[in-house]
Amino acid sequence: MSNFSVGFRSGSSVEVLDLNGELDAHTASELEAAIQKCRDEQKHRIVINGANLQYISSAGLGVFMAYIEELRDSGGDIKIAALQPKVFNVFDLLGFPMLFDIVDTEKEAIEKFGVTQADD
């Protein structure tokens, strides 16, 4: 049984992915499938809402690493919001804040794409 799920919320120009549960080497494929779905639907601007993400290991971080260049090459990005401190700290250990925009709120993450939530 998987203790991880991804919810999708579509705005006009930004796709928000709500991550729930624990992201490890077993569940990372579900995040990968979610990001691939966005890519296949030409939704290259992705906000990750991590408010309900309870745990992450390097297998989860690796999914972001594997897709970030491709999404940026397509004019998009992955911006990460609302991480719990214990989860943010794993991102921080590997220096992810140098490679990704990691912000406190989903609203800030959407605004980083140059749109306001009212627009979206």
Binding site: A25, A59, G62
Partner: protein
């Protein structure tokens, strides 16, 4: 010096990682570690087990891995034991996330995370048995993240 040992054996499959983390959480909490240290143990042990499952056993779910937690008065050591392909730590290089992103590479940070979170990380191989030992002290001054 008194000590307690707890052991768990699971099949070599990522589906058991959650059970391993629960096992580590239960015993490190009981040993008196802070929430921060408990989270650090969970991540480090997860990384060690994931490496065994993916690299030592190469996804063969018929294999088993043993996780033992040894609680001392001043520290805890978690031993992860396997009989697969041994890991050569001297061949390991620190990851460069910018380089890995360019290569669209999804892995290669597990050992780095273990070393950052634990006070000691030791690898041994004797005969067919490989072991990684992850040690953290109760009064650890390791201020690296997580938790």
């Amino acid at each position: 010096m008194g000590r307690s040992t707890y052991s768990l054996t699971v099949p070599s499959s990522t589906r058991y990682l959650e059970a391993v983390r629960s096992f580590v959480e239960k015993h490190t909490v009981e040993a008196g570690f802070s929430n921060r240290s408990v989270e650090q143990f969970k991540v480090a042990v997860d990384e060690a087990c994931t490496n065994v499952i993916k690299h030592a056993y190469r996804g063969d779910e018929a294999c088993k891995l043993d996780v033992s937690i040894i609680i001392f008065s001043d520290r805890c050591t978690v031993c992860i034991r396997d009989e697969g392909q041994s890991f050569q730590p001297r061949e390991y290089h620190e990851p460069d996330i910018f380089e890995l992103a360019k290569k669209r590479q999804a892995g290669g940070f597990g050992v780095h995370i273990m070393r950052r979170l634990m006070d000691h990380v030791e690898y041994t191989s004797e005969g067919d048995i490989n072991e990684v030992r992850l040690t953290k002290y109760l009064d650890s001054h390791n201020q690296n993240g997580v938790g």
